[in-house]
Amino acid sequence: MTSIDTVEALLENNEALQAAKTFLFQLADDDYITSFRGSEWLGLAPHIEEDVAFSSITQNTMGHAVLVYQTLEALGEAEADKLAHARPAGERLSSVYLEKPNGPGTYLDEPHYDWALAVIRLYLYETWKKIRLQTAARGSIRPVAAAAEKILMEQPYHLAHWKMWAVQLLDSTPEAKERLEERIAEAWREAGDMISFGGHGQTFLENGVTADSEEALQLRWLEEVRSVLPAPAELPLKEAGDGRRKEHGSDLDQALKTCSEVFTSDREAVW
């Protein structure tokens, strides 16, 4: 496969361009919603040190979403701010598992958030994120690979953070272990869309957006997370929907309404 070294070259290859954009939208939309869910946690983490660390990760994750939305802007999509704030839920490619609320209540009112969900979800997500960034970095589309490389410079710290939490809690009290196991079981019912390319895996591979097949990446993910978590040997299901195919529940609508509240109050204004 010939490599595509510049944005200009990519813009001239429509099939590769569409594949690249789909991959980038999946990535950016995942990071955007993950960062939102993370920001809801501020001040509610198990201790102050964790609040500081978690909010740093959340901020970096938003930085990654920004970088990828900007890459999409350079590829002819709307400006990054509009991609983040003005796209309705029905156009988003984020995983429904990542959209799931942190627990009962809202971040403003009676947030009964569950740290076990945070730890399991973020560990599973960051592992997948690493794998998909690595394959894109080894892919043959330079503008996509460059964004992936940049994110990979800080992403390993995020993964290490959540892995440490998962390992520590699994190795502590029976109560903690039980809570984590419940969230693992839940993830295996719902996180199937997170580790999928939504039917675009073959196109990604053929156009060099990724260097590996979707199946190989999923197996790599499964192997890695099972080395840390007591998890089933099969891939997770998609019982809560499939965000990669734009099937979202009301959780995303609610989240987007909050994230875009001020932006949509006056779309022409300079904020």
Binding site: F36, S39, E40, L42, G43, L44, A45, P46, H47, I48, E49, D51, V52, S55, S56, T58, Q59, M62, G63, A65, V66, Y69, A80, D81, A84, H85, G103, Y107, L108, D109, E110, P111, H112, Y113, D114, W115, V167, Q168, L169, D171, S172, T173, E175, A176, R179, A255, T258, C259, E261, V262, F263, S265, D266, A269, V270, W271
Partner: protein
């Protein structure tokens, strides 16, 4: 940020304390030496520092909560990143300061856990501004610009504080506060130069925050309350200026900027007295202030409830961590 000083009048050191040690201690302070955590210090000094620093630390943490309300709602990606960075800094300030307070409390066998319990029980107060509601995006701007601006005034006044660990923490905190004020000012500037609705939103926020900003520095100086005793924090060279001096410095710095943006202040009596070289202003309602810091402010209950929920919902995590076997990193 965030520590108005309640008036505590100086008292004689306890008789049981070694007079010679006390004299030597005061000499070190007079010479501008820094006191360290393990050094001998009079009880009054330790108590004053614990009260000051734990309130400062917990206020940083509670201070992240009003802005947190606007983190997801920030209207552009750039603003989202900016406000995320800011609230993270505030949490970091809280962490830094609570560690300083913990070292001071160690001789009493008291810890972070006790501070959190004191917060929830109302024994440990947090700063008046963080009991207030936020209503619009303009609040995010006004908090960053003027509340952090006020914090810079009060904290830079203690940059040479006699207690080394606090003084060093403040060096770092003040450096970051400058970015917070710039972040807030940028939000405010965009609104001030924006649509009529944006301008109105900004003016409404300034009007609403004005009394809280006056209250920020605490009630007027000992002079106005008719007392001539020296304040403890000044005696021990923890800070230099009185509440009123700090408030005047704040007004000196920010009122010209407020006016130059075309904003007004909701006080008809506000004027600069050239002779006295100070601002004349209508006193905020100090009874209301007392109510606010007693956790009877507009959002006191809701903000404390968040910390209470964090405490309750993470109980199992704390149990797990304390039970944690030693594992190699």
């Amino acid at each position: 940020m965030y520590n108005f000083i309640e008036h505590v009048n100086g008292s004689e050191p306890e008789a049981v304390e070694d007079e010679a040690k006390y004299a030597q201690f005061m000499e070190r302070i007079e010479n501008g030496e820094k006191i360290e955590a393990d050094d001998w210090m009079p009880e009054e000094y330790r108590q004053t520092l614990i009260k000051l620093i734990s309130m400062h630390g917990i206020s940083e943490i509670m201070g992240a909560l009003p802005e947190k309300e606007w983190v997801p709602k920030a209207p552009t990606l750039y603003r989202k990143l900016g406000i995320m960075a800011k609230v993270q800094d505030e949490m970091g300030h809280g962490q830094l300061l609570l560690r300083v307070a913990e070292d001071l409390m160690a001789p009493y066998g008291r810890s972070r856990e006790d501070l959190m319990m004191d917060l929830l029980s109302g024994d440990l107060k947090f700063h008046n501004v963080f009991h207030m509601e936020t209503r619009t995006w303009a609040d995010a701007g006004v908090i960053g610009w003027l509340v952090d601006g006020a914090a810079i005034i009060s904290q830079t006044n203690m940059l040479d504080a006699s207690y080394g660990p606090y003084q060093r923490a403040l060096q770092r905190i003040c450096a970051e506060e400058v970015f917070h004020a710039q972040h807030g000012e940028a939000i405010v500037m965009a609104l001030a130069e924006g649509t009529p609705e944006q301008k109105a939103m900004l003016q409404e926020a300034v009007d609403r925050w004005w009394p809280s900003l006056l209250m920020f520095f605490g009630p007027g100086s000992a002079e106005t309350t008719g007392s001539s005793k020296q304040e403890v924090t000044t005696k021990y060279k923890i800070r230099k200026s009185s509440n009123e001096e700090l408030r005047q410095a704040f007004l000196d710095k920010y009122l010209p900027r407020v006016f130059s943006l075309g904003l007004t202040i909701p006080d008809d009596t506000l004027r600069y007295d050239e002779e006295k070289e100070q601002w004349e202003y209508e006193q905020p309602d100090w009874n209301e202030f007392k109510q606010i810091i007693k956790n009877n402010g507009p959002r006191s209950a809701e903000r404390l409830r968040l910390r209470e929920l964090a405490y309750e919902n993470n109980r199992w995590v704390r149990r797990a961590l304390s039970n944690e076997p030693v594992v190699q990193a």
